[in-house]
Symmetry: C2
Subunit: 367 residues, 2 copies
């Protein structure tokens, strides 16, 4: 916080090259770079904003303080969804958000976030790291002027908050709901009215009646925004975001200006944060869910199979339409569907068969 | 490989402090440390040995070559299961293996690997990183003279290779099977004859008839050893190892001799490798499984529910017996069972509900 205060007071320049000349002499002589990271999250928001802070810390520690990154919450430097423009244009060096926020610039980024009925977090990471996903995303982000890193995953999200029960797809007709990316396209196909809002604008939009329903992330994050105050039905599973990848995007010239060891530190820091953020969500969600239910009277509901199957049919159409309209989306979808087929087969024999087996017997009072 | 050849030719000293004085002058003047990492794996064995190599590469790149780590396969410097002694005693600085290989020194290490009917890889990482697991493991490893890092996870393993069908627990009676850690204790409780062998000794032991059955990891690794040549029934799920954590252990004085930035690089490198190894298994297992079935005639079988439930009862007894016999095991088990209760609840609503939902409809020809 001290460092941030200091930087806010100083004249903070944009690109690394430009910044060097405006830095005080001691910083230059020590070869210290000071970068700024804008985010789409409220400052220090649990898991998301703190994930961005953790990334900055790992980079600073790993480079012996030679690359210092100050993190800004959404709106502190630019509006959340202007983060990509700020980074690509060189106003700041780095950003942290989610790929589908940049769908206006590259529709295929929506697949990089994850897609309806697609891959779990573990499978999504495997696709990105060993299934060709990183290379495809790198190509998309380079065209936007950035280097891409997966930088956190929320795990399977919740399906959303509603002020009525969901018994059929008809209950989505006309529904004004905050739901971004391909999930939003599916809701649109179900005759709903989806919209995209940064996290911080969800609660005000609910309060003002501009939206009637929303999804955000899961119990840990949703409790923090107080979304239960506007809607009491909390649905699972998050069919639309089964393993949401967050992104760290770096201005391509700034990235290329880094020496190899700093590139290695930034790369490893992102891979580490990618896992640590997921672990934090897995470790914290259930406690928050219990608070929502026992303290705030939230009604936990599972989507009926008929609704999930209906969405799945629509999702297939949405995904195919997107792939037909855009060559890069076609390439990404082909890669993802091929990977998904293998992943589903293996997951069925491993995690799925195991998690079923451990319910066969009450292992302890804790089961 | 070149570097390794060079180092093998040179006099490679032990602890960092001792090494400095025996290094050639240029290395000293550049502040370069050369460490050795012994492993329990065959050199460059898929996922495991290559995970150790990746760790060494990330450390070297992130420290600008100031900390260079040469990786040795099991038996190249010491026998696989002598790795902990070699590291704790300062013969080498680092090791890579799995916590349960050190159960003779600290019984509770078996819980750090994972435990029968316990946590999936994702939950295991959450326990280690946000549920108190790292702190407990640090305490165990420090008592052994080492710093501990989680450094890879295999995901849910396969249940093993058998030359007969498994229809009841009776089929384990008298069975000579390679199965280490708490899984082995459970097999013993079912009147089997479990044993622990390093990976490289499994196939020879099967060939010699010393063991009749074995588990190792999963399709990607088991195919590499050719285990299908000795037993045609391949069972799932791996109830005994649902999310196996690998370990990187560092001589405590060597660890403490590192400057803070190198400690940060080593820490982030391990966190990154912890995820990358898991991703590699998730990405590669199914293709290897298809090869085993279609090319080698392996018969894939699921354990009957009655067998899984029977093992679950025995596992409860084994785990409780261990906790009653050893104060550290009690502390770890209490931590794990508390975490498990929360994790199971959340996983049921998220990953489990989602993976069921995506089978409601054939999303594409790929489903």
């Amino acid at each position: 916080m001290k460092r941030r205060g200091f930087l806010k007071g100083a004249a903070v320049a944009g690109l690394a090259g430009a910044a060097a000349s405006s830095l005080p002499a001691p910083a230059i002589s020590q070869g210290i770079k000071r970068w700024r990271m804008v985010t789409t999250w409220p400052k220090n928001f649990p898991g998301l904003g703190t994930g961005a802070e953790l990334l900055a810390q790992l980079i600073e520690k790993g480079t012996e303080g030679k690359l210092q990154v100050t993190v800004f919450g959404g709106g502190e430097v630019v509006k959340p969804f202007d983060s990509m423009d700020a980074v690509a244009g060189g106003e700041v060096e780095m950003g942290h958000g989610a790929p589908y926020y940049w769908k206006q610039k590259a529709a295929a980024t929506q697949f990089v976030t994850g897609y309806p009925f697609g891959l779990s977090a573990q499978e999504q990471n495997a696709w990105l790291q060993y299934g060709g996903g990183q290379e495809l995303a790198d190509e998309m982000y380079r065209a936007m002027g950035c280097k891409f890193f997966p930088s956190g995953n929320t795990g399977t999200q919740m399906g959303g908050w509603f002020n009525k029960e969901i018994n059929s797809l008809e209950d989505y007709r006309g529904l004004r709901m905050r739901i971004p990316g391909l999930g939003g396209e599916v809701v649109k196909a179900a005759a709903g009215q989806p919209g995209t809002l940064p996290g911080a604008e969800i609660k005000p939009a609910l309060d003002a009646g501009e939206i009637e329903a929303t999804e955000w992330v899961g119990p840990y994050n949703d409790l923090a925004f107080g979304l239960h105050k506007n809607a009491k039905y909390y649905y699972y599973p998050g069919w639309h975001e089964p393993g949401t990848t967050l992104d760290n995007f770096i201005n391509i010239q700034a990235w290329e200006s880094l020496p190899d060891d700093q590139k290695a530190v930034v790369t490893a820091a992102n891979t580490a944060v990618n896992q640590l953020v997921l672990s934090e969500f897995v470790a914290r969600n259930n406690d928050s869910l219990k608070t929502l239910i026992t303290k705030h009277g939230v009604v936990l509901k599972q989507f009926p199979d008929s609704v999930l199957a209906g969405f799945s049919v629509l999702a297939g159409q949405v995904v195919n339409d997107l792939a037909s309209s855009d060559p890069m989306s076609r390439r990404v979808m082909d890669s993802l569907l091929g990977f998904r087929k293998e992943a589903l087969a293996w997951t069925s024999l491993s995690e799925t068969a195991f998690t079923a087996a451990r319910f066969l017997y009450s292992y302890s009072e804790g089961n």
